[in-house]
């Protein structure tokens, strides 16, 4: 089980990471960041196996993955 770190003020809410996660673990948040955009967040209780697809997809280097 891996852990996802999302940099709130780097994420621009483009949602590119959302569909690539086979666990559907990423969702849009309600909070508003510096840009006035909704960054994504890790869905509560969701799974992550550290496949890196979300990070690979992210144009803003907003996702880091640890385990």
């Amino acid at each position: 089980m891996a852990v996802i770190k999302i940099k709130q003020n780097y994420c621009k809410g483009c949602l590119l990471c959302v569909p690539v996660c086979h666990n559907k673990s990423l969702v849009i948040s309600e909070t508003i960041n510096e840009y006035g955009l909704h960054p994504i967040k890790f869905r509560e209780d969701a799974e992550c196996d550290g496949c890196k697809k979300c990070a690979i997809m992210c144009p803003d280097v907003a996702i880091e993955i640890y385990n």
Partner: protein, 180 residues
């Protein structure tokens, strides 16, 4: 009468249109008007700011050194431009996106524009909500003059676009009535 307005927001939040509607109305009303977008840089993203001046007299510099009114859509815009408002100026802000730290002198109106627009079914009309609020406060023009401009601009577009814009304008005006 000279009204100097700074409009600022994230690119895509429709500040350009907000200002243009006001400028068109001013023109239709026989006023002098200058409307100047200040592209900060040749670079994407970030804050877009527009300088609008409406006056009964010839306008020289379209730049604004001290604004009568500041209409801001998000936190970074607010941060960046708040000091350009004159001491007793008017501040209209999108409270859905701006957390206020204590403001002293200025008259402040907090309009939850994004929320209202969301409820109307289209976040993109949050700018029109702000416009409605501004109109209700400063009463420079009648709502119908603005609606004329909107109508002209949306000509050829889908009919329900006009409807939702009308609703947005209205909601913005209502907010002010409620607040005050």
């Amino acid at each position: 009468m000279t009204e100097k307005i700074i409009l600022a927001g994230f690119g895509g939040q429709g500040m350009m249109l907000l200002g243009k509607l006001l400028a068109q109305a001013a023109m239709a009303d026989g006023k002098y008007v200058t409307y100047f977008p200040s592209y900060g840089t040749e670079v994407r993203g970030g804050t877009a700011v527009y300088y609008l001046i409406i006056s009964n007299e010839e306008i020289f510099s379209p730049l604004i050194e001290e604004a009568d009114t500041l209409i801001v859509m998000n936190q970074p815009s607010y941060q960046k431009y708040k000091d350009m408002l004159k001491p007793d100026g008017l501040l209209v802000l999108n409270s859905s996106m701006i957390k206020l730290n204590n403001l002293s002198d200025v008259k402040t109106y907090q309009v939850p524009a994004t929320e209202i627009a969301s409820k109307l079914g289209n976040v993109l009309v949050s700018n029109i909500v702000m416009l409605g609020a501004y109109l209700a406060i400063k009463k420079l023009f009648s709502a119908s003059l603005i609606l004329d401009q909107l109508q002209a601009m949306l000509k050829g577009k889908k009919g329900n676009l006009l409807t939702i814009n009308k609703q947005a304008l209205d909601s913005g005006m209502q907010v002010i009535k409620t607040i005050s």
